[in-house]
């Protein structure tokens, strides 16, 4: 007997395009959070005054130091808020780009050893009693040095494949991580150690417009370039053979992206210490919201990451009498929140096996 099978209808109608609206919505959320954050703090500033201060910012004239609201909003809070937002945007953007390039959900911007290198640079500068600006400069320089070493290692390995890249990054990261540990071990426990530990844990305390400018420079320039290459990341994520067959210079493109990421990470670590977690998890959350297409994923990650790190910094500076290092808070509060979201959204965006 011949049994007949009826083939079920294959398709459900096309997905709605709500994800197109999500990116602008996240941007608006970020702006709203920035305004709200400006009102937060020891000296409450009503939202109306915040808006007033921003709208009447004298561009050329000197600050009017008699206006308390203006001092609080523009000198005390604004640089810190902008730094937090830019760091969050930069890290998340980098994480999304790196996960795409490496086709691996466990990759974060730190993978190339840049943040470990930058940490060591900063720690070294603290031990040598550099000025705050010197610390920033050393961190930045060592971050890029770490990338250079990783690049040379991958070259020495002969193949520019993923495994060589990841391994050389891990090696460099481990080496600089160990150097940081040794520096901590040898540092004067009364004078240097506390500031080293505090610096490594990460904080936006003491943000100035100079520091903001450093992150802004890196995030705006490298971030814009990453953003412009976002569709190319889709192509890279197909794998080497296929991407090459589509006419992509995979090695050149991959290194350009890694260098841009390194620039952002080095700048971020140099002004605010190691802030882990954000660059790893925000891209996953963004992917669950807008899907895996990097043309939407990169902007969504940036806005979401900016808002997330700003929210964490708001909590860090307003929760108690003493500030909590942001690097701790991002994971302590973030982990349960993301555990819940992962359970809810089932890691959407990655292909099923």
């Amino acid at each position: 007997m011949v049994r007949r099978n009826t083939y079920g209808e294959l398709q459900k109608p096309g997905r709605s395009r709500t994800s197109d609206l999500l990116v602008p919505a996240l941007f608006i959320l970020l702006l709203a959070l920035i305004l709200f954050s400006l009102t937060l703090g020891r000296y409450p500033v009503p939202l109306r005054q915040v808006v007033h201060v921003i709208l009447t910012t004298p561009l050329r004239a000197r600050f009017n130091y008699t206006d308390v609201y203006r001092v609080v909003v523009e000198i005390v809070r604004m640089p810190r808020i902008l730094t937090a937002v830019l760091c969050g945007m930069g890290l998340s953007l980098c994480g999304a780009a790196m996960q795409g390039v490496f086709r691996n959900p466990l990759v974060s911007p730190e993978i190339m050893g840049v943040s470990a290198g930058a940490s060591f640079g900063g720690v070294l500068a603290i031990m040598l009693s550099f000025t705050p600006f010197g610390i920033v400069g050393m961190a930045f320089a060592f971050g890029l040095l770490a990338l250079l070493v990783a690049f040379i290692l991958a070259r020495v390995a002969g193949k520019s494949n993923m495994l060589a890249l990841v391994l050389s990054g891990v090696i460099v990261g481990a080496f600089f991580g160990a150097l940081v540990g040794m520096a901590q071990y040898m540092a004067d426990p009364m004078v240097k150690l506390p500031s080293i530990v505090y610096w490594i844990l990460g904080s936006f305390v003491g943000a100035t417009y100079e520091k903001t400018a450093i992150v802004a420079g890196a995030v705006l320039i490298a971030g814009t370039l990453l953003m412009m290459l976002r569709w190319r990341i889709n192509l890279l994520s197909l794998g080497d053979v296929d991407a090459a067959a589509l006419g992509i210079n995979i090695n050149a493109l991959r290194w350009v992206i890694i260098c841009l990421v390194a620039l952002i990470v080095a700048a971020q670590v140099s002004v605010s210490g190691t802030v882990g977690w954000v660059g790893l998890v925000i891209p996953h959350l963004a992917r669950m919201l807008v899907g895996p297409d990097h043309t939407k994923l990169l902007p969504a990650s940036a806005f979401l990451g900016g808002a997330y790190l700003l929210a964490m910094d708001d909590i860090a500076r307003s929760i108690g009498s003493q500030e909590i290092p942001i690097g701790l808070l991002t994971a302590v509060i973030g982990a349960p929140v993301f555990a819940f979201l992962f359970w809810k959204l089932q890691g959407r965006g990655w292909a099923r096996d």
Binding site: S237, A245, G291, P292
Partner: protein, 258 residues
């Protein structure tokens, strides 16, 4: 008439030094023709195609193309759950500027390519949720979206059911005969090569091959050499025409006629 689209000359390749996968392989693919490559598993068909598309570099010999090619890989898996449209859009990589994203023209070309293969309904579906056959067709659509003039297909019919195999073969035929494209493909089905190709290469060994007009190269004796399996050329009538095909002979009890 005999303009060259693609040629490879004295090609030699080894993954590990001295351990040649293929050696002194030469061939010329003429513009507008369909060129099939046959050979048993592991004979280096995929390696040869990768050499042709430049994903591997030969230690010996050279490859020259006279036109743009598009490649359809075998067994396609993705890391991210892209939509079908996103996948096909990626075929536009050469047309989209380094720092830009696909334009509405690219989107039209991608949707057009999907439409040509009757896949328009799948555009918004996640690629990883499709069946193997559907994936193959989508990647085929992606190759069409590149607007290349040389299509290089790695076992385009291998994971498809009979109806979809027929669709792909029809497309190969139509693209080369009506639209003047050059098609190079590998296959495990001699009757597919026999049905649509003009020139056939049989990969008999590391440095041993036969290449020539399909109907001259594909003989029962040569195919037996190639696969170590008996194949019969059958002629039959279909809609008033005499047609020919190859069938493997499996000498088993149940196969015997009454």
């Amino acid at each position: 008439m005999t303009e060259k689209a693609l040629s490879f000359d004295d090609l030699g390749f080894a993954y590990n030094t001295g351990d040649w996968v293929l050696r002194s392989y030469s061939g010329i693919v003429t513009r507008g023709e369909t060129f099939s490559i046959l050979g048993p598993n592991g004979c280096g068909k995929t390696t040869l195609l990768r050499l042709l598309i430049g994903a591997l570099h030969a230690q010996e010999g050279s490859v020259t193309h006279d036109g743009r090619f598009a490649f359809v890989p075998q067994l396609f898996q993705v890391t991210f759950s892209y939509t079908v449209l996103d996948m096909v859009l990626m075929g536009r990589a050469r047309k989209v500027g380094l720092f830009s994203t696909p334009s509405s023209r690219d989107e039209e070309a991608a949707l057009g390519a999907l439409g040509r293969l009757d896949l328009a309904d799948l555009a918004e579906r996640p690629f990883d949720e499709l069946s193997g056959g559907q994936r193959q067709l989508v990647i085929f659509a992606r190759a069409l979206a590149t607007e290349a003039d040389i299509l290089i297909l790695d076992e385009p019919t291998s994971s498809l059911d009979l109806r979809n195999q027929g669709i792909i073969l029809e497309w190969i035929e139509r693209l080369s005969k009506k639209e003047g494209l050059t098609v190079v493909f590998t296959t495990h089905h001699p009757h597919h090569a026999y049905a649509v190709s003009d020139t056939t290469m049989l990969m008999l060994g590391e440095n041993h091959y036969l290449c020539g007009p399909t109907h001259e190269v594909m003989t029962e004796a040569h195919l037996h050499d190639l696969y170590g399996v008996e194949l019969k050329r059958l002629a039959f009538e279909h809609k008033g025409r005499t047609m020919e095909t190859f069938v493997p002979v499996y000498d088993m009890e149940r196969s015997k006629g009454k």
